[in-house]
Amino acid sequence: MTTFDFLLQGLSVALDPMILLYALIGVTLGTAVGVLPGIGPALTVALLLPVTYGLDPAGSLIMFAGIYYGGMYGGSTTSILLNTPGESASIVTALEGNKMARAGRGGPALATAAIGSFIAGLAATVLLAFVAPTVVKLALVFGPRDYFALMVLAFVTVSSAFGESARKGLISLFIGLALALVGIDQLTGQARLSFGVPQLLDGIEVTTLAVAMFAVGEALFVAGQRGTVDDEVIAVKGSVWMTAKDWARSWKPWLRGTVIGFPIGAMPAGGADIATFLSYAAEKKMSKHPEEFGNGAIEGVAGPEAANNASAAGTLVPLLTLGLPTTATAAIMLAGFQQFGLQPGPLLFATNPQLVWGLIASLLIANFMLLVLNLPLIGLWVKLLTIPRPWLYAGILVFATLGTIGANPSPVELSMLLIFGVMGYAMRLYGYPIAPVVVGLILGPMAEQQLRRALSISQGDLTTLVGSPVSATLLALSALALIVPLILRARGKGKVLSQLASDED
């Protein structure tokens, strides 16, 4: 049988009314937990595991996958409307999405996120069905040195993508890298910068930092400026729906986001957050309206949102074909498989074709369900913004605090939220970009570990870093990304100098 026959067979499993019900429960729950900060898809699936013990394996696994996809949809909502990303994959969405919402374009932002997620989810699921075995082989080619080169590329593109001043951007990035050093060093097991506080041994939680910097910092900033800015509420300006221009500007980022997200999700050390950063950087580079970035560019929402859904599908590739979970949610889904006596791995496609193809087909259907579920809700969500500002920001503070305590109930975590919130306020006050701090915290440890692993394997030989075709290519690209703008700037000196001058005040 060909892949296509298998997929048809899978669709016949997926269209069973009970299976459809499981999928519907999954996507609804997933959307809900995605919207609520603090509860992620990983925790939800963990809580449901014991409940599903006696249920049908296929149905339960399809429900879990629905929760995963749904969480990726729902996560964008709070990022865009409240600037409180519930998970690391939707941090980038908050950058442009929240600016759009504050300019009265919350509706189109949510719509491009939902439709982008749908298209990326659909395309990536089809890719999952057809190319899973090949993608796995490619992903295994990536060794530590190749990952390191990928991180270097991400650092270079990201530090040039965020903020107007390279100096301020780099300072922010290095603050993030410094924070990333806190905790147990994964390669030697030694504690660094933890000052004897046990909660710091595992490092600083990314979502705590992101919520503190984005939401708490923002709330303090708004409170600090009260009286000087007008309190006019701009809920919706123009249509709630996307205009023809929005469509025209969104479709390419959706596709590019899919192309970036899927393979990165499939890589064992990839992950949705890296995919969203790279997609954001790519969109900023390619946009015809780069000046809009930072002020609510629709491409900056469309691309990363497509990328995080595509990477969710990508994550299923190593999970199903290697039994290798690359995210927390995938790890719990693996536990779910094992609960039913199924071992994901190279033999799963051969021993349980009905289940695997049923699961893949259900994901296609779940995607349609999510679109139908999410689009009508947009009108409801944007009403949130008509809440008067003091109430809205009070609400955001409550949500941010509850989310943080919910995810990690400890006074240390709460103190970190407040300290980083104040730090976010200070950075905003002096015009330092926030995003590079978060990027540094997420990518810093990965880059460090992969570099040290690469050097450990080569026994200290530095040439190993350019020793594979993949790493050499990626490093060359990074060098280009660094040097080309420098040359361009040198040629158009006047413009750059005026820009630098305007940065200084």
Binding site: A42, L322, I457
Partner: protein
């Protein structure tokens, strides 16, 4: 007289919690991991078999379980309805993290399950058996890179023990730590490292599919269904079980400890528990009472020694 009767009533009322059937189990790890799964399987078995009316599982992740352990020691003191799941990894983590609390601060009840380590190479590797790997290790310890789980964990300790047994300086081993056996698996399959070491369960499916070759296992006897010798057969005096256990709160009375031990024994013998072990592929290595305490003391001493040899603990 009236006074003593009253006091007796209070004593009786206070004694009731000793036989309370409600439990809270702390899983000192994030949802999804081995300890979390152990705690949730216990929850299922204790409730399903009617041993306990209500069992709550609470996740307190962090630092190899030492964050959860510290919280448990301070908040559960003398409470007979509080349990914590732990394991061999905790023994190492307590030492490497210089944790202020240790397993001596809780009341160990029983070892529940265990997994053995497997040493693997990719199918395409030129190394055919464990002796081939040991020869390479003896020739140049640094040239053999081992991928496994977190630094100071069971996988790392096993490599240290193997090196020591083979007469190789354990400080010279080239151990590449990954966040878990799964992430290490990708590096092994991609031939990024010489060999891999982790729980047998992480590698079994790949070995069955012929993409990995199991060179040896760390059990005392050969494992059914696994075509590989034990390390002992290969002349290396190393046996290591990555076990998981359940412990009760510090400061409970002997009666309370006996009641909990009885409940756990009932759970281990139940069909729900046995079925769960079978589907998850966990070995039943139940060990309780003085035997478990003796095994625990032995593991703590041996782990401390090897971590010093590797250079992770000073």
């Amino acid at each position: 007289m009236k006074h003593t009767l009253f006091a007796g009533l209070i004593a009786a009322a206070l004694a009731v919690p000793a036989y309370a059937t409600d439990y809270t189990i702390i899983a000192p790890a994030a949802p999804g991991g081995g300890w979390d799964q152990t705690a949730r399987t216990m929850q299922e078995a204790l409730q399903g078999e009617g041993i306990s009316d209500s069992v709550q599982v609470q996740n307190v992740p962090g630092a190899g379980g030492t964050v959860g352990l510290a919280q448990f020691v301070s908040s559960a003191q003398g409470k007979p309805d509080q349990l914590i799941v732990g394991g061999y990894v905790m023994v190492g983590a307590i030492l490497t993290n210089a944790s202020p609390v240790s397993l001596a601060d809780v009341t160990p009840i029983a070892r529940l399950t265990g997994e053995y380590e497997a040493i693997v190479v990719p199918a395409a590797s030129e190394i055919q058996d464990i002796n081939g790997l040991i020869e390479k290790l003896k020739a140049d310890p640094g040239a053999v890179s081992w991928a496994g789980g977190s630094a100071g964990g069971a996988d790392h300790i096993a490599v240290g023990l193997i090196a020591k047994a083979a007469g190789v300086d354990p400080t010279k081993i080239n151990y590449i730590a990954y966040s878990g056996g799964g992430e290490a698996l990708a590096a092994i399959l991609g031939s990024q490292v010489t060999a891999g070491i982790s729980s047998l369960g992480e590698f079994k499916a790949q070995a069955d599919a012929g993409t990995l070759r199991i060179l040896a296992v760390s059990s005392d006897e050969r494992i059914e269904g696994v075509d590989a010798p034990t390390l002992k057969e290969a002349g290396l005096d190393v046996a290591l079980q990555n076990w998981r256990m359940v412990a009760a709160a510090p400061g409970i009375t002997d009666d309370q400890k006996a009641a909990i031990s009885a409940d756990i024994e009932k759970m281990v013998q139940s069909k729900t528990w046995q079925d769960a072990l079978a589907t998850k592929g966990w070995a039943n290595t139940y060990l309780a009472g003085a035997d478990f305490q003796a095994q625990l003391d032995k593991d703590i001493a041996a782990t401390g020694a090897i971590l010093k040899d590797i250079g992770l603990v000073k």
